[in-house]
Symmetry: C5
Subunit: 272 residues, 5 copies
């Protein structure tokens, strides 16, 4: 594998450009998970995969080594990217699992995914959906613009059981939405925020901005352990005027269970 590694390494250096120094082996620091998950300006890549039929024609010995190979790639890139993994088989027709990759530099996220796809497991995974976005500071419900709601929004934290389920839902607004004035959109977003406050305790949420980067304006991401509460949360968002401006909401809605990447690889490597 050393020749492949060398080739990949040179690609990474090439892609990573000016920050290539940071690539140098185990001396570098792993990405700070808590920080990258809250910082603005972070690149997020969501990709769904379906295992190829051919994978199960490999010997079970070959499949057994798959997780180690993937973990080595994750480890190699741990100073540049963090990776979350989700099992969708049983819930989705178009995928068996999905990955969420965060990086301060989009090219670093790509470098990881190139290496991942070059593993035996990645090579036997067909990509079925890919959405990218970036994080930004709060746009509307800020301390300045909407102080009361901001206080409510930031004052409650998740208090449910460890979430076992995650949802990835793209949202695209039509031209009518974007042609509203800033004030009008603020007003709609206040109406949007109000009914969601009740669910801060049992549904976690994260937002990515994708206009121009992909065929969606937003990627909304949720974690929960309470599917009924989540259903009610989304219903509350269906019932407000903002919904009339949505030209895409879902399509796909991707539901998965939250796992370590090793669990995902191992689970999907079983089969006769």
């Amino acid at each position: 594998m050393s020749k492949i590694t060398a080739t990949i390494l040179s690609i990474c250096l090439l892609l990573a450009g000016g920050s290539a120094m940071a690539q140098q082996g185990s001396m570098s620091e792993p990405v700070d998970r808590a920080k990258i998950l809250t910082a603005p300006g972070v690149f997020g890549a969501f990709s769904t995969y379906k295992i190829r039929y051919e994978y199960y024609k490999l010997s079970s010995a070959e499949r057994k080594g798959a997780a180690d190979e993937v973990m080595a790639v994750v480890d190699k890139h741990k100073d540049k990217v963090i990776v979350d993994a989700y099992l969708t088989r049983g819930f989705e027709a178009k995928s068996d699992y999905f990955l969420r990759v965060h990086a301060y530099d989009a090219a670093a996220a790509q470098a990881f995914l190139l290496d991942f796809r070059a593993t035996r497991f990645g090579m036997n995974s067909g990509v079925t959906e890919s959405l990218v976005g970036i994080t930004k500071a709060l746009n509307y419900i800020t301390k300045d613009k909407s102080p009361d709601l901001n206080k409510d929004l930031t004052g409650t934290t998740y208090s449910g059981d460890a979430p076992r389920f995650a949802f990835m839902i793209p949202v695209k607004k039509g031209a009518e939405w974007w042609n509203l004035t800033d004030e009008q959109r603020l007003k709609e977003m206040e109406t949007h925020t109000l009914p969601t406050l009740a669910y801060l305790g049992n549904v976690k949420r994260k937002l990515y901005h994708s206009t121009g980067l992909d065929d969606t304006d937003f990627i909304t991401y949720f974690e929960t352990n309470d599917l009924g509460a989540f259903n009610n949360l989304v219903l509350s968002l269906a019932k407000i005027p903002e919904n009339k401006y949505n030209v895409r909401w879902g399509n796909p809605v991707v539901m998965g269970t939250i796992h370590s990447i090793a669990e995902v690889v191992n689970t999907l490597s079983v089969g006769q």
Copy 2:
């Protein structure tokens, strides 16, 4: 198969989380079918499958064992999920059969479907559609809100021949529907319910809620032995104002005949 079984078992334990104790072998009680089919808060997973061409390249001996292998998986999960099976070949282009899985915990439904897909039959089945939802208590036509209709609705039961046909039809409402007031929606649902009363005797019906969980708001499920009556029932629902709020009704409509899962596997395992 013992290593695979062990691996799968550990996955199940992992997925099932806190309720892992219930997983322990034949001592546990099978799910009460009548109860789970009427309870609110139940997770329902519908998935349609198409047999891969490669399946028929297996020797007929290998295919003959397929049903037993599937039944062992059904049996293993019988204390967590119930499974219904339907043959769609001949009626549908995109599937040969579909499964309906009920579980109190979505992760348990996924655990079953992961094991099912790891069997020889499951591995040779391509998933072509997957819809998930949860059951809820009646929303509109309740004793309180609409007493007369509630009485009619709950007062008549199915009295036809054992239904041989089932239909799975997703329904999605537009933003205009969800932005109606509760009173307006109640009124529309009363108008919806009235013409359907005539068919309570020959068409069974069950409803799943999917907003946020999938790209539909509802999954409607029907069983009947009278296709003409069923056609008239759906026509009666086409002719009311509520229909104007539907942005998805079908797409797909999935029609199948009702069978035991062993019958489905055996029937689709025949071929030269």
Copy 3:
């Protein structure tokens, strides 16, 4: 083949339910073609197929036997279903042929198609579209509701050359159509019927109702030997207000030449 036959037979018995007695071999009567093609309450299944590339990898000897095998299946089910076959290769991208199956019982149609798919030819055919419907008595232009048009409609019969071409065109109406009153729809259908009278002599027509059974409201089926006349007939239907209520008209329009099923199988079995 005897084991397969036995398995299939048992499935048929199972599917056919109460009418299993009729299944018993050559003593039973073949379906009366003229009668089933005019009776209401008949189930019609249209399915389009594309030959798999792999079929032409079989030896030509194997392919030569394909038609006999298919004809045996047709013969086996001849007391329950009638089958019409059409060659679409050259006209359609998504199919090479299509079948039209009529049966008094939908499960009998399915039983035939299951057996057909288990033949070598059926196994090498991918289903690309499948639409089902039922026949009904005339709805609008009846003796009572519209006596003059009814007289015209039933007074002229096809008088052209034996039709060589057939068309299958699904039609779906929007909610606005179904929310018209019966009187309004009758008026629209009278406007619909008038311009079509001129084509009764050279275009045959048959209608199937599919609301609830499939993702269409109607399947319209035509036979003609005069493509110019057929084009003008459909243009005349494009030019009336009813057309504004169509949300699906075609998609696909399927055009084929009319053949015996043996001709279809033999023609598509040629190849190097």
Copy 4:
């Protein structure tokens, strides 16, 4: 190949029906190209193809013989059909080439395409789009209805370099268009014709009518050597009110270079 030829011949006879006499070998006259390209009532079949990956696994010797085999089929049908060929690889994602087939009888066009698909090259071609139509006499801008425009339209002929590029663009009108009166549509077509006069010298054009025959109302076909002029011609048609009635214009737009069929086969047979 003689057995295959015999089989195909019998199919042709069967399909060609009453005109089977004309099929008899080399004594019959080839179709008059100039005449069939200007006559009304002619059947036109457009089909786009993508070469299968498997084709390039054949030995180069086998691929070398492909053109001769195709030319033999063209020759065999030359008294019934004419065939034009276009190379789309490099311009289109969904096809590598397309064929345009003209015949006085649709069944003769199908007979040719069946034989073409049975050649090694045809068998390794996947059909990706197929549109059929018939030619008609001018409908609107006739000597009677619009004498001045008719004079302009018929008074200028193509005077550019031999066209190297061809375009196939389907057009479908909505119900609003067809529900205009004849006079209104004539007026729109006059507005349509005026800006196109300037391009008669460098863009050739031909029209096929498809209502009822396929999922389009028209197939528009163009030849040019001046892509800038062609772009401007289509822009001029975008800028008139008629455009508001189009529900399909393109989808696909198919662009190809004009070649002999032998050139197309030979070019696409190259590969390692």
Copy 5:
């Protein structure tokens, strides 16, 4: 390879028509990159590709030679076309890379792409999207029509870091847009141009016209090193009235990193 080369050469001569003289070997001049990228009347072909699974079944030795083979084709056509390459794997589901080809003659671009597809790498690449257009002189914001904006537009040049990211975004306008008067469209384009001025320094832009040539009116192409700025640029274009006239904007948005073609081939040739 000499026979293949000869065949391809003859095709090129054939396609290139009158300018065949220029094809003669290394004596001819390479295309002037700066000039062709700014000239009007230039043909641009964008095509996205996905590597076939089969490619990774080739020995790594065979894959190692892939880049040289591709570079030889690029070199052969260097007097007729220029080629840019982009890596999309990790960002896109439907492609692994895309190419942008410029030529003064569309047939020369096709000739290159035919040769490219005949290489081992090209043959193992499935084309997933293909869009073509031509460049034109500025249409609206000219010195004459909009002198102030023209001055601003042409007065600022890109001053950021070397761009690492490229975007290809098709745009199609509805009939309402094209039916505006020239003055109205000029006004909208002025409103369009104003908010984009702020991004001239960090986002490069190029426009291709496709009406009639493909299923889009424009192909917009961007290069940047600042994804946040690019997101804001596109948001600013979402917020103006012109957006209401867009019937296609993206679908797909294609995001890639900018590389030499050899880097793209080498990177995607890695895998076990």
